[in-house]
């Protein structure tokens, strides 16, 4: 009995996740090997690897791989660095700390579509936007963010969304940093940068690993922000892997090619996760 019960408890989660993984994957494998365009009904003909060739030789393919990785790397970099900074800033008590905390974490609760449209219009519009007004006031020409720096604009939106998450985790972790140790180091003449480098940063190694892992999971498939603002453009300047596959499937109606792309995305995700599991696998215990 003592062996059976734990397995029974695990069964629902394992079964549903197994189905959730295997059924779509199997179907994707099948679709990727046939000619299957929703606009050209007819016989589903086996065409081997043609879909893969088509997807990989698409001129948008490499740019989208690069965009996916740039987006991932920039947002993770920005949120970790700024998050550590903010967490250190609010670590000690000061007047209004509770309110500051609430303000800081608010963007985490905002849905991606609202986030995207808010930045696109009210902030980044080159004529009526707040940023345009700031540039004009400072005497420079307003920038048309979404047309001239589309990927950077997406990075700003996504980072704004994820910074609170990183900050929160670092804040919680800093609370458990041994204060006596910090004070002792201060007495011994360690200056602030030294205390940060030798005490706070090592303490934050684990939470940083966790933040990187969770953000990676969510950021590999950034979609709504691109869908509602740039539509992947201009050209392919802000098309990532997720958006490229979406375009093939629901705009070109080419299920075969989209499935080949999806398999490629799975490979990309797995390469990323191998790195990740190496890096933080030991943190799971």
């Amino acid at each position: 009995m003592n062996r059976l019960v734990p397995r029974l408890l695990l069964a629902p989660a394992v079964t549903t996740l197994l189905l959730w993984m295997i059924v779509p994957l199997g179907m994707t494998l099948y679709f990727s090997a046939i000619r299957y365009n929703l606009m050209q009904p007819g016989e589903l003909e086996f065409i081997g690897l043609d879909n893969f060739e088509f997807f990989v030789t698409d001129p948008d393919f490499w740019p989208s791989v690069v965009n996916t990785l740039v987006l991932l790397g920039s947002v993770i970099g920005a949120t970790v660095v700024l998050g550590v900074g903010l967490a250190l800033l609010v670590n000690e008590p000061f007047p209004g700390r509770g309110v500051v905390r609430v303000l800081l974490i608010s963007p985490f609760f905002v849905m991606p579509t609202v986030n995207a449209l808010m930045w696109k219009h009210m902030m980044m519009n080159p004529i009526y936007g707040v940023l345009a007004w700031v540039s004009t006031t400072l005497g420079s020409t307003p920038v048309d963010w979404l047309s001239d720096h589309p990927l950077f604009s997406i990075i700003v939106m996504v980072s704004w969304q994820w910074l609170p998450f990183a900050t929160l985790i670092f804040m919680t972790s800093l609370q458990s940093l041994d204060r006596d140790q910090l004070e002792a180091a201060g007495m011994d003449g360690a200056n602030a940068p030294q205390r940060f480098w030798f005490l706070a940063l090592p303490h934050l190694a684990r939470p940083i690993a966790v933040v990187v892992m969770i953000e990676m999971i969510f950021l590999l498939s950034v979609f709504a922000e691109i869908f509602t603002t740039t539509g992947g453009g201009p050209g392919n300047a802000s098309t990532n892997m997720a958006f490229l596959i979406f375009k093939q499937a629901l705009m070109n109606f080419d299920v075969g090619v989209a499935s080949a792309g999806a398999l490629f995305a799975v490979v990309l995700a797995n390469v990323a996760s191998v790195f990740l599991i190496r890096m933080i696998g030991k943190n799971l215990d």
């Binding site: 779509p24 700390r97 608010s106 609760f109 849905m111 609202v114 808010m118 709504a224 997720a242 599991i277």
Partner: protein, 270 residues
Amino acid sequence: MRPGTLLRAAGAWMAALLLFFPLLWLALTAFKTELQAISVPPRLFFPPTLETFAEVQSRSDYLHYARNSLVTSVASTLLGLAIAAPAAYSMAFFRTKRTRDLLVWMLSTKMMPAVGALVPVYVLAQTAGLLDSLTALIVVFTLSNLPIMVWMLYSGFKEIPPEILEASRMDGAGVWGEFVHVIRPLAMGTLASTGLLCLVLSWNEAFWSLNLSAARAGTLAALIASYSSPEGLFWAKLSAASLMAIAPIVVFGWFSQKQLVQGLTFGAVK
């Protein structure tokens, strides 16, 4: 107050206001007329109006979408907890050699980008006649949150000292009794924060709701996308709709943040 503290407080306040500013601006714009919304220079002070809110409700039936958001997020949270909690319990208290591999595998299913499963899930939903249905959204939300929930619950359950369990096992409590009387009181915090995170993630989920739902089962996240261009130029309406879409979850988040944060460490804080 020491000058250092003062400087730090000023910095923290500035950072917080800067990060919060876009939301504040969104909220202000929601109370403007369309003309005031696009005035140059932007106006901080103006006579507030409520007419855009009424217009949003009459034009796109906000309440219908809000109801869909509420139903899908609450149902997927409860369903997710019902599946994830037993699994996490089993992994935390009946560890085997394979526990870690199992957890890594579960997380790896979340690694697969949603878009990779889009076509199959779309086809399946279509075949089952579940396109644009709340059922499909609930199932998909639950499945995509499940790995994160298991992980979060597992790292929370692990903090419970095993000695307590051993003692209750000696006293002859069965698995059920152990769960109800010993684990549950200690694990309520973890369960609550996991549920809260799941609620936030589902409420804000945009990929599946954009692709699997339309007028009938659409959630607020999908409704807002319909305000993208060309109607996006009506900023006051866009802002009012956005504010109505995020206000419930943001206010909810403010009140539950302490609870949420406690469980949001994923075992990273020792």
